[in-house]
Every structure is written in C-alpha cells, then in structure tokens.
C-alpha cells in the first residue's frame, strides 16, 4: 500500500471493477478497496449478464474498453440473443454465467493491470479540504488521493430480511459497510433507502428436470466482446416451470410475516422485479407464474429460481416451492431475502458522475439508485474515465442520449432521479433505432481508442468496416439489376416480380430479401477480409431496409441536438431570473443543467421556463 494514489475506488463490484480498470489503464495510479478480495465481481443476484437493453449496455461498455463483456464471455455457459423475432434495434444478447468463475476471472483481469492495486479493508474516514476530496482512511491509515469513486453497492447500511428475521449485511454471509453513509451525510449529501430482493437457491441434485421445459442457448451464439471469437466453456440449459394455486395459497399464509406487507421494509422495491408475494397479491387473478431454473455454475450444485424472489419466512418459501412441478422434493440451500440499503439520490452528481458538492468525489452504481450489473458497470467506467480525464486536465467524456444507452442512463438519473432501483429498458431510449447492440462499436470505439482503452488494431478494424459499409451503400444505390436477374431472387421469397431494372437499395427493402444475394448477383467485389465483409453487409442491410425509419429518427436527433448545443454556463445564477417560478428556480439550481436540452428533461420544468431561460441565455 502506498501513501498516495491518483484514484481510489471503494467497492469491488461491477462498477468498481470498471472504474478502477479504466483509471489504471489510462495510466494513473489506482487503488481498489474491497472488504474481501475473493468477493470481487461477485454476482449478488442472478448468474446472468445482459438481457433487453442491458445487453446493449454491455456491448457499449465493451466498445469503450470495459471488462464486463469479456468477463461474461469467458464465464458464459449459455448465450442467447433475445427478441430475435423483432427488428435488429431490440435484439439483446444475454448470457448465463458461472458465478464462481466470474469472480475468479474478474480478480485475474484486474491483477494483470499495471498500476492497479487491490487493498483489503474498511474505509473509516474521508477527508475534504476546500470542497475537494483529500484523503481516504483505510483501517484508520490515511491515503492521500485526488479522486475517490464510491461504488459500494447494496452494502451501505445493508439489511437483509427473511420473514421477521433481520440480518445486517449487504449480501448473504457478508457484513455491511457502516459509517460511510454517515460520513457522506456529514459532508451534506442526502441519502435515501431502496430495496431489492433475491430468490432462494436450490440444490440441483434434488430437482427432477425430466418433466420440465428445457431452454437451450443459441446454436450460433453472438458474444459480447470484440475480443471473443469462440466459447470458453461448455454450454448448459435452463429449465422453465410454473407455480400453481396451491403455491399461492401457501405463500399467502406468510403474508402476515412479510416484511414487505407489514411495513418493516421502508425502501422502495423495483416494480419490474417484484417478489413472488407481490405478484400474487397484485395480480390475484393470475393462476400461475413462470419460474426459470438457472444453473449457478458448471461445478456448482446451486440452482437460482428466477421469478421467485421472496422475503417471506424460510419455511413458507420451502413449503411453497415444493408444490411446483419438478421441485416436489427439492432442498433449499438458502432462502430468498430482501435487502434494504442506502442510496444517494442521483441529482447530487453531474453527467460525469462527479458529485456537485465535493470535487473529485464520484458515485457509481447502486449508490446512485440503479439496479443491475450492467447499469453499475456503465457508471463505473464513466466515473473511472472522467476521474482520470479530470486529473489529466482533459475534457470530460459525456455520452449524449443519441449516442449511447449509457448516455440515456446517466442523463435520466441526473435529471429525473429515481424512486425505485433504476433499470434500463429500450423504451427509455428515444433514438432506439440508432442505438443498436450491433453498432455499439461504430458508435463508441473511437472514444475507447482515444482514451487508450481500446487497442489500435480493434479501432482500425471498425474504421475499415465503416469504409466497407459506405462502399456497399454507394454500390447499392447506383447498381440496377435487370428483371431477369432480380426476379430469380424475388420469386424465392414470393415477392412481386419487377419488369423494369431496379436498384439494389430498393430491392433489399422487400421482405426477407437478403443484401448478400443481391450483391452477389450484381458481381460486387467483396472485401477480402471475410469478418469485415460479413459485419459490413449486416450493417448496410439494416441501413437500407429501414432507411425510412432511420431517416425520420435522424431528423428527430437533429432537433434534439439544437437544444443540446445551447449551453448553460456552469455558474449560471438562476436566482437572478425573477420571472422563473420559485419552484423552477429551485429545480434548476439543484440539477444545474449543462444545456437547455438537459434543462428540458428535468421533471417539472415547463415549456414556459425554457422560453424564459432561452431569452436570458441570449
């Protein structure tokens, strides 16, 4: 341990991993503080990465040079592209992962990074001087620093509930972090309370899988990381089963002891991830709920019961789960629980995730009110990058809403706040058609490269791909196919035949017609690198097939950027504008938006307020 680090990251979860890796790989001296080295990257909830919109986040982080994509690929035991029947914008990759291996790999990757040191211990004090962070006390020993990133997850005054039993701690079997919230409160930060939950873990050896519906991964998987070409591990299946009336009846018997229903838990839980008791309470007319049995790892006997999150008494959980087909004789290794923890309403950070109150202090992950590994990792990498950029006296990295889901995430948090754990959905992104998982590299890899987090060869690859895409698009516009050639393809897809030559751009818009076929018929000279060729054709096909929609969206983006580019000076004095209502003034003062566009997204700010602001900005 040294007496000084440029950046100190507190917490070794998914946010802490990205923050410390980014900072160190950008060349700064970084320390990662964790209570337990072996708990780094531990998956607190389901052993899976990605899913709708979350998969997009992972692809974006990967293009910025983050680690979560690689970790998910290296430990993936099932890969699936969700929403494949829909358009490409909402395809979302997801993996099932080996929980134990995930932690091991995370530790391994971090250990390989020079100038990154992992320190075990507890933070006992933070000091500030002139509103700047000055030092961190680890087990009462002072370490000087220029930036601190707090990524403490659910550990801040974490409390777990199973029925009437309460245990202090941030995760099963691990102690809470005490005192850190209070330190921050003393500095003037406001904290709140949130809640989330996790289902019971079952013993695989006591489950009868023979009668259950099997869910396999994709035959041709797509991986998260640009670095991955193939599987690292053997692949396994998940299983689906259902609750029934009997299950619900038993669960209802536990309502009286439910910490949720009796008001013992005060924090607000996520509506998209309700406990099983909440589901049968709120949707009493539903006579069954589906459960996903997910393997915990290749060498683990644990099964994670997705859909059965619960904080009812342990005996009720067991009795209820034994009414479920396949689980009649199941042994429960440990019950589900709810966990309540402190968070800091995210209006207290700006778009770089630096706190508005203390310079050099950053918040990332669940502390900002989010939920999910991917959301945490996204904030981690942004906080790490910006902490480093600031120390290096460089401009911050702020991704806009039209550039990345990461931009949507942080913009939402800062401007709108959240009163439940925030999770990403594709519907939160207004420019969804452009923010695809398949073009994350095209959108972001240049940033990753400029920051030094992406190797030159990967950046070159994307540049070459870009050129190839343009070549294909141009070719498709100017190359006409004669009816006798085109109709051969059109007949195959029962598409009306043509009697006059038509260009490829038009033909490819027909249902099911593939761009590759049209290019082949037109004797297009394909790129000699098959990987670039394949990726470029895929991108060009999307751009051509959905041209009308993408064009409409691009118009919207232009309009959006108009307000985004009207900047508000950092120390703008809202109290001077008497014409703003008191309420609006307070809101603007609180959020301190960087642009008129950002101001427009603050809840409660009206069109009138914006007109007034605009008048005063000119």
């Amino acid at each position: 341990m040294k007496s000084y680090y440029d950046i100190i990251v507190i917490g070794g979860g998914h946010a802490g991993i990205e923050a410390s890796a980014a900072g160190a790989r950008m060349g700064l001296e970084v320390a990662l503080i964790t209570m337990d080295k072996n708990a780094i990257g531990r998956m607190s909830c389901n052993p899976a990465v990605g899913g709708t919109a979350k998969g997009h986040l992972v692809r974006e982080i990967d293009s910025l040079g983050g680690l979560i994509g690689q970790l998910a690929d290296r430990t993936g035991i099932q890969f699936k592209m969700l929403n494949r029947s829909k358009g490409p914008a909402v395809w979302s990759p997801r993996s099932q992962n080996d929980r134990a291996l995930y932690s091991l790999e995370a530790l391994k990757l971090l250990t390989q990074i020079p100038n990154l040191e992992i320190l075990e211990g507890i933070v006992t004090k933070l000091t500030i001087k002139n509103r700047r962070i000055e030092s961190v006390f680890l087990n009462d020993v002072e370490i000087k620093t220029r930036a601190v990133i707090i990524a403490a997850g659910t550990f801040l005054n974490g409390k777990m509930f199973t029925g009437r039993v309460q245990t202090e701690g941030g995760r099963y079997g691990e102690p809470k972090v005490a005192g850190l919230t209070e330190l921050l409160n003393e500095m003037g930060f406001i904290s709140g309370r949130l809640k989330t939950g996790t289902p019971p873990r079952l013993d695989k050896r006591t489950i009868d899988f023979t009668s259950l519906e099997e869910q396999k991964g994709d035959e041709e998987p797509q991986f998260f990381s640009y670095l991955t070409d193939n599987y690292y591990l053997p692949q396994v299946s998940c299983y689906i089963t259902y609750t029934n009336q009997k299950t619900h009846e038993i669960l209802r018997q536990g309502f009286l002891d439910s910490p949720l229903f009796t008001g013992i838990i005060k924090g607000v839980g996520p509506r998209y991830c309700p406990s099983i008791e909440d589901k049968i309470y709120r949707f009493s007319d539903k006579d069954r709920h589906h459960l996903f049995l997910e393997p915990d790892g290749l060498n683990s006997d644990l099964i994670y019961v997705n859909g059965f999150s619960s904080s009812l008494p342990a005996d009720i959980q067991l009795k209820a789960i034994r009414t479920v087909p396949g689980l009649q004789k199941v042994e429960m290794i440990r019950p589900g629980y709810a966990v309540e923890y402190d968070f800091f309403p995210p209006y207290q950070v700006d778009l770089t995730l630096e706190t508005k109150l203390v310079e050099g202090l950053y918040f990332a992950g669940q502390i900002n009110g989010t939920s999910g590994y991917e959301e945490a990792a996204a904030q981690g990498i942004i906080a790490g990058i910006n902490a480093a950029l600031k120390i290096m006296n460089k401009d911050p990295l702020i991704l806009k809403r039209n550039e990345a889901y990461i931009g949507v995430l942080i913009d939402d948090l800062v401007n709108k706040g959240t009163d439940e754990p925030y999770r990403m959905f594709t519907s939160r992104a207004e420019y969804r058609l452009n923010l695809r998982q398949d073009n994350a590299d095209r959108r972001l890899i240049k940033y990753g490269y400029e920051l030094g987090l992406i190797p030159a060869w990967a950046y070159e690859h994307v540049k070459k791909k870009e050129q190839e895409i343009h070549r294909i698009l141009e070719w498709s516009n100017i190359t006409y196919l004669k009816p006798e050639i085109a109709n051969e393809i059109l007949r195959k897809y029962n598409s009306p035949e043509i009697d006059q030559s038509e260009n490829i751009s038009k033909l490819v818009k027909r249902k099911d017609v593939k761009l590759t076929e049209l290019l082949e018929k037109s004797e297009y000279r394909f790129n000699e690198d098959p990987k670039i060729s394949k990726e470029a054709i895929f991108q060009a096909e999307i751009e051509l097939k959905y041209e009308g929609y993408i064009k409409r969206q691009t118009e919207d983006i232009q309009k959006f950027l108009e307000n985004e580019n009207i900047l508000i000076p950092k120390n703008f004095d809202y109290s001077k504008i008497k014409s703003l209502s008191m309420e609006s003034r307070e809101k603007l003062e609180k959020i301190k938006p960087a642009s008129l566009g950002q101001a427009s997204r603050i809840s409660g700010i009206r069109v009138t307020d914006l007109s007034i602001l605009l008048v005063h900005l000119k």
């Binding site: 929403n83 909402v90 539903k286 709920h289 008497k578 014409s579 209502s581 009138t608």
Partner: protein
C-alpha cells in the same frame, strides 16, 4: 429593441364600448409615472398591492379610479396600475398621451400577455387563450376562450394523451418484456386503438372551422346586379334592433365592410356595392374582385329582383365547399301577393329592404347557419389556433404511418418511431409524455417480473 425593462401602457377595454374604459400601465416605472399624472390622497409609490384610489388626473382630464398591483402579484407579474376612466375615446387618447410624455411606451398588441408569459404567470396554452380573448370580439368567442382557460380543451386533449400512453405501453411491452409471461395484444387491436386516437384528433380538427367562426366571425357577401338594393339591404340590417354595429367600420375602396353582432356572434358583411358603380373599372376587374370576396365568404346572399328570379351565379365557383348560398328576392313591396305566388319557392327569402319586410327571416337564416356550425355550443372544445391545428394534423399523419407499419408487419420499435413522433407533435398541447409514464402503464396492467 423593446426590452422587458421599459414601462408600457395601453387601453385594455374596447374603444367606445361601455361607460368605463381602463388603461393599464405595466413595468418598473408604472407607479412612478402614475404619481406624475394622478392627484390623490396618497402617493401610488407608497401604496401596498391591491388598492384602489379615487382622484383626478392632471390637466383636469377626468375623475378616475386607479388600481395598484405590485409585482409579482399582477397580471403581467410587474408593477402595474390600471386607470379606470369614463368611457370616451378622447379621454383615453389624452391619458395615453400623458403617460407617454412621462416615459411610458405604447404597448404592442398582446404585449401584456407576452410579459405575463415571460414572467411565468401563465403557460403557453393560457397565453394563447388570452390573446384570443383579446382578439376575439364576439360574446361566444369570449365564453369559448374562457372555457379554454379553464382547461376545457385540455380535458379533451387529456383523453388523447391517455390513449397515446396506453398504445405506447402495449407496443413497448412486447419489446422490453419479451420473456415475461404476459399475453401480447394482437396487431389488429393496436390498430383499432390508434384509429380511435385518430378519431379523437379528427373531432378536434373538425372544430377548427367552427373555432374560426367563433373567433373571427362569419363572412357574409351580398352579391347582385347594380340597383338590386344591396346597399339598402345592408343599411337595413345595420339599423335593425337585432344587430349591434361594431365600432370598427372598415371601408376600403369599392368594398364596404361592416361588422355586426347578431345574437352574440360576429358577422362580417361585404357589400360589393361600389364594384360596378365606378365606370372607370372595367367589367373584368369588377368580377375578379367579386370572385375574390366570394372565395372568402361563408354565406353568400344572392340578391335578385323578382323579374330576374332565375338569375344564376355562373361567374363563380359554386362548388366551393362550406359555402352557404341564399337567394333573396328584394323589392317584394312592389309586388302583389298574387304575383309572388306564381313563382314562389320556399328555398328563397322574400324581403323588402325598403320597408323591412321579411328581414326577420333573413336574421333567422343567419342564426341557423351559426347554430348548424355549433357556434353557440357552450361545452365545445374548439381548436382555433393554426399552430395547434397543424400539430394535430402532423400527429394524425404520424399515426397513419404507424398503422401502415403495423399493417406491413414491421416490428413494434418501428411503429414506435411514428408514435413517438405523434407524441412529440402534440407535446405543446398534451405536455410531455415520459417513458416513465409509459412504463407505469405497463407495470400497472401486466404482471412483470421474471
């Protein structure tokens, strides 16, 4: 350039109508300027807000009541005085001159409301309703504008808004919650729901014409050969007890325009009387002008004499939509009952501009036209603002695109592009619809949580 730092003044009541007129002075120097022209018991500058003072204006212009409002508790949000004086155009004019002498500037049309808006006293919809109150000159218009202030239109809009949230929710459900155990709604149902929104929008669009009648009045053109009695008829109408003649007569060369309130609705009469009187105007030019007026008219009174009862208006585009043409037979006093009965038609109105005979039938016709156009309806949410009208049209087009995408089996995220566009077009009317609200509608209705 005008700034918000100067003090403005203007009459806020219509010129010449009523026993009392009011002049408003608003801006940082309102009280100071007031003190220079007003002699009362107390200095206005020392007065608290919301007080009334009786006194005299200097130069013995008038006895007046002065109302004091201090910022921000005034209509504009600025320091304001309102001078209530006797309703006389000359007095108003003198007071304004005096105020300007002491440093106030004459307000531009709508400037008080603009300041109220800029000072955050009212929102855009309200500002527009207020400017319509000011501009609209008929009773019904004032009532309707009030209604809008009260959120009548907003209620109608809220229905559209709720539908939009619901449909968006249904579309997003399938995208974001693909692995949930919920039943997705089939495309046809979504199409039907969008069609329902379009219908609501259409209903509002239809009121636009009515809105125009309400706010801008109904144009009546009196058309007929020379000496058929056009001017006599107009004079007769102007002098009728049922008509209140507006104080703003507009006589342009060759065309006489009169504005009259009939049963509370504004009718604007155009008389082409002068068209063929001046011999220096060639025939074609006369017809061209008459045609132009014809296009603008909502009601055309085709005035004929009994001998020419079969005269037609072939010179005009009779198929123009929305035009109501009545044939009116004049000089009925010169005929006997027997003569009339020979060629009587119940589709015509028989009058005598000279004696006033049959005029009540003509008034009844005007009233019926207005009734038919729903002008009198009290609980009507009307669209009268062109920008709102265009926003609704845009939203409608986006919704039609959305249906088209659904029909072509495009996936929901494409449908959603147009739905969002519709939502954005209506933003000014409905307020923002956030993705949070859409997610709310999903969580409220569907059991989410794998």
């Amino acid at each position: 350039m005008n700034t918000i730092n100067d003090t403005i003044c203007a009459p806020i009541t219509a010129n010449g109508i009523g026993a009392i007129s009011i002049i408003r002075v608003s801006g940082p120097r309102a009280l100071e300027i007031g003190d220079k022209i007003f002699i009362g018991k107390k200095r206005l500058s020392d007065s608290p807000s919301h007080r009334i003072y009786y006194g005299r204006l200097i130069n013995d212009i008038d006895d007046v009541l002065v109302f004091v409002f201090r910022q921000p508790n005034s209509y504009t949000g600025e320091d304001t005085i309102e001078i209530s004086h006797h309703g006389n155009f000359l007095i108003s004019k003198k007071i304004i001159q005096l105020l300007m002498e002491y440093g106030a500037r004459l307000a531009e049309p709508g400037e008080f409301t603009k300041r109220a808006f800029l000072n955050g006293k009212i929102d855009l919809l309200q500002a527009e309703a207020v400017s319509e109150i000011i501009q609209s000159r008929s009773d019904v218009a004032v009532r309707s504008a009030r209604k809008q202030l009260d959120g009548f239109l907003s209620n109608k809009i809220k229905v559209i808004r709720d539908y939009l949230i619901e449909v968006s929710g249904l579309l997003e459900l399938e995208l974001d919650f693909v692995e949930e155990d919920v039943e997705f709604v089939d495309k046809e149902t979504v199409v039907q729901k969008i069609e329902l929104i379009i219908k609501q929008i259409d209903d509002l669009l239809k009121t636009f014409q009515t809105g125009k009648y309400v706010y801008e009045g109904i144009n009546v053109l009196i058309l007929g050969k020379p000496n058929v009695g056009k001017s006599s008829l107009l004079n007769r109408i102007l002098n009728d007890d049922r008509a209140i003649v507006s104080d703003i007569p507009g006589t342009t060369r060759d065309i006489i325009k009169e504005e009259i309130f009939i049963y509370g609705t504004l009718f604007r009469f155009f008389d082409t009387a002068g068209l063929r009187k001046s011999t220096d105007i060639i025939e074609e030019e006369g017809i061209r002008r008459a045609r132009m007026l014809f296009e603008k008219a909502d009601i055309v009174v085709h005035l004929v004499e009994f001998d020419n009862i079969d005269e037609n208006l072939n010179d005009f585009n009779l198929h123009a939509s929305n035009k109501y043409i009545i044939k009116v037979v004049n000089k009925i006093d010169t005929l006997t009952n027997e003569q009339v009965s020979k060629k009587f038609s119940k589709d015509m109105i028989y009058i005598s501009a000279l004696t006033g005979y049959g005029l009540e039938n003509l008034f009844e016709t005007f009233k019926n036209f207005a009734l038919e156009k729903n002008v009198y309806s009290e609980d009507l949410a009307v669209i009268s603002n062109v920008r709102h009208y265009e926003a609704l049209i845009q939203a409608k087009n986006s919704l039609i695109n959305a249906i088209e995408s659904l029909r072509q089996n495009f996936s929901n995220e494409f449908v959603s592009v147009d739905l969002r566009k519709a939502v954005n077009s209506l933003k000014e009317l409905t307020g923002e619809i956030t993705s949070e609200e859409i997610l709310n509608s999903i969580f409220a209705k569907f059991c989410i949580g794998k």
